[in-house]
């Protein structure tokens, strides 16, 4: 059984191609089911996000699987194969596993380390598993990738630090105020960037949100969008007193907030700090406002440099994350190879057990005098001897370091014991081998 991956990602295809091959907006479950009807795909998972559409299959015949997936994509999205095949990338076995591990770790994302992708990978797998389109191979692979994603998240700083201005502002607010529930936010100027920041703050559960703008209609619109309250522009300075966070982003050519205005609301008038986020260019807030003891003033450049710092920190963590991926890939490959030894192991056990049974049968007459209890014990003892004899060779076969050695060893075992294991038998013996090893562990 081979692992095969075919798909498009932001690295191989422009956005219009990705859009046309996108599954997320349609019924993903139905797509996986449709794919699973193709005989070459014994197991399948479809991972579809705005940056990628990737199809993972476990197949006996990857060549055939490729043709089938292309046909499926063309049929499902009603596209001619020529329109998308130049943008496809495909990977086999270890390379495919490595790719999924990197995806789950956030290493393949447009913004390295972004946290959503791991959840998307989990959803993709669960959708497929829920429709019985997965089996032992993809199940193991995907669960392994969740572990890789989790390890990278806990052991590296790959996903740390805000990488957009509005998130950086929210992160700062959290370092000043702790939880933002119940905090009061004043938004001055209802442009695009203040909208984005207001939305992020709203998502953090801030309490009251007051919006004021020279254009009352814009203030009303933003207030509606973030369930806030619009106030007239004329007396925005009076709104400062009750605010914890102020976001300014007006188009004014001169500062609209002076030190005197802010100072009038601080000191004993205020119990906690005031965080002013000046997103306007040119700036809305006089620089000297930042000198007031209780005021933290950040402008676009300050936030931008935090973002830059965070991005370069993430870049420095890439090597560490790649090491984790490599380590896990090695373990996964060993597991996968151990499955290659399964047919030989199964045949070996069957051969030994057959010998045991035939010997017992031969001695049937001599054992006839024994009580049923004693006979059962003889049966048990012989079985245990066989188990013990086979235990070590089985473990060794499963733990061989590379494929070449494994072929040599299984070949040797096959010859030494005259075992017959063909590729054709492997599929059916997989389940048997899993059940015998489970028995042995009992």
């Amino acid at each position: 059984m081979h692992l095969f991956l075919l798909g498009v990602s932001h690295k191989t295809a422009p956005v219009d191609v990705r859009e046309r091959l996108d599954f997320s907006s349609r019924n993903l479950g139905a797509a996986v089911e449709a794919l699973a009807t193709r005989p070459s795909a014994a197991e399948s998972v479809v991972l579809s996000t705005c940056n990628r559409s990737e199809i993972y299959v476990a197949s006996e015949n990857p060549e055939r699987a490729r043709e089938d997936i292309v046909a499926f994509l063309s049929h499902y999205h009603s596209l001619s194969p020529e329109s998308f095949t130049p943008h496809l990338f495909s990977l086999d076995d270890e390379a495919a596993a490595k790719h999924l591990f990197r995806v789950a770790a956030g290493l393949d994302s447009l913004v390295v380390g972004e946290p959503q992708i791991l959840g998307q990978v989990k959803d993709a797998f669960e959708t497929a598993a829920g429709r019985r389109c997965t089996g032992p191979m993809l199940s193991k692979l995907f669960h392994w990738s969740f572990g890789v994603g989790k390890r990278v998240r806990t052991e590296t700083a790959l996903g740390e630090g805000a990488v957009s201005i509005s998130f950086a502002a929210v992160a700062l607010a959290r370092k000043i105020f702790g939880r933002l529930e119940g905090r009061r936010v004043l938004v001055i100027g209802a442009g695009e960037i203040s909208t984005l920041t207001a939305e992020h703050l709203r998502a953090q559960g801030v309490g009251e949100m007051v919006i004021t703008s020279r254009t009352p209609a814009q203030a009303e619109a933003l207030a509606d969008a973030v369930s806030g309250r619009a106030e007239p522009w004329d007396d925005f300075a009076s709104l400062l007193g009750t605010a914890d966070v102020v976001v300014t982003a007006t188009g004014s050519q001169r500062p609209i907030l002076s030190r005197a205005q802010v100072e009038a609301t601080t000191g004993r008038h205020r119990s906690g700090p005031l965080f002013i986020i000046d997103l306007a260019v040119p700036r809305d807030v006089e620089v000297s406002v930042g000198d007031i003891e209780q005021v933290f003033l950040y402008n676009v450049d300050d936030l931008q440099s935090i973002v830059q710092e965070n991005l370069s920190r993430r870049t420095r963590e890439i090597a560490h994350a790649e090491t984790i991926v490599a380590e896990e890939l090695l373990k996964f490959a060993t597991w996968q190879r151990s499955r290659g030894a399964v047919p030989t192991v199964v045949a070996l056990r069957q051969r030994f057990d057959a010998i045991r049974r035939s010997e017992l049968q031969r001695l049937d007459g001599k054992l006839a005098g024994l009580s049923p209890d004693a006979r059962a014990r003889v049966d048990e003892v012989t079985r245990l001897i066989v188990e013990k004899l086979l235990h070590e060779p089985t473990e060794q076969l499963k733990a061989l370091p590379d494929e070449e050695t494994q072929v040599a060893y299984t070949e040797a075992v096959n010859r030494l014991f005259r075992l017959r294991t063909g590729e054709s038998a492997s599929g059916s013996t997989d389940a048997a081998a899993d059940s015998t090893s489970a028995d042995r562990r009992k």
């Binding site: 740390e160 370092k175 000043i176 702790g178 004993r268 008038h269 933290f296 950040y298």
Partner: protein
């Protein structure tokens, strides 16, 4: 006997430092476990001494320090368990470990003056000790507040920014610690005055009791401490002295407490030498 707690406090301090640098939850849990073991063994040591001399050991200064360390560790554990915040461990546990070296290497002889055998005295002693332990925690919270404040204000978001709790949390914890400490300090001082007056009547010739006045440095500094923390409590609620100002006062208050606790106790006071 105080050596085992010392070793465990020192180990906990080291693991808290590693946790602070690496921010790994597993290491953090290890640090807490070691600290709990330290407090457990320390409880055992103090319990043994209590059984031996039939009161909480305090009369030799090194025993008093040991009891203080124990209360400090308990206060910190309370803080950690209620806030689920381990970043403060690296600032507080080393104080416990550092002070514990005194009882571990300079064991005193516990030989308490019989004049102390009064319930009022115990209330006085334990209240004072507990308030000082709480002020130690508040002082460290103030210090970390200033570190965090500086990084955010100067826009150099660096080492401490990523590791310390938010300013709001630090300020709230500081406020709580100061109020609790101030409450116990007040009880301790008032009860101390009442007890000294009573004891003087019972044992008029006692030199310690005769020395009890504001002229004694230990008593004077205790009153100054009370004044500083009283101001902090009042200023927070009426003058808006929160955040950085409260942090400064907490740190300053703790410096005075430490001064009173170590050099003054050892070398200067004449009123608090009961053995």
């Amino acid at each position: 006997m105080n050596l085992i707690p010392l070793v465990l406090y020192a180990a906990a301090a080291a693991v808290y430092a590693v946790h602070f640098a690496k921010r790994s939850p597993g290491i953090g849990r290890t640090a807490t476990t070691i600290l709990l073991l330290a407090v457990l063994s320390h409880t055992f040591v103090i319990g043994m001494q209590t059984m031996e001399v039939r009161h909480v050991p305090f009369a030799s200064r090194s025993h008093a320090i040991s009891t203080f360390v124990w209360l400090l560790a308990l206060s910190y554990i309370y803080l950690e368990l209620t806030t689920d915040e381990r970043a403060m461990g690296v600032f507080i546990v080393p104080i416990a470990a550092g002070l514990q070296t005194i009882p571990a290497f300079l064991p005193g002889v516990e030989n308490a003056d019989p004049v102390l055998d009064s319930p009022w005295f115990w209330v006085h002693l334990l209240s004072m000790m507990f308030s000082y332990a709480t002020f130690a925690v508040a002082g460290m919270l103030g210090l970390t507040y200033m570190l965090q404040f500086k990084e955010i204000k100067k826009k150099h978001l660096g080492y401490f920014y990523a590791r310390l709790p938010s300013l709001h949390v630090l300020d709230a914890m500081n406020s709580r610690a100061v109020v609790v400490g101030w409450l116990f300090l007040t009880i301790g001082v008032v009860v101390g005055v009442v007890w000294a007056a009573q004891a003087r009547a019972v044992a008029p010739g006692n030199s310690n009791l005769q020395a009890m006045s504001l002229n004694d440095p230990k008593i004077l500094i205790a009153v100054v401490t009370w004044a500083v923390y009283s101001f902090e409590v009042v200023a927070r609620s009426t003058m808006g002295w929160t955040g950085r100002r409260a942090a400064w006062l907490s740190a300053l208050g703790f410096v005075i407490v430490l001064l009173n606790f170590l050099p003054v106790s050892y070398f200067v006071t004449t009123s608090h030498t009961f053995q």
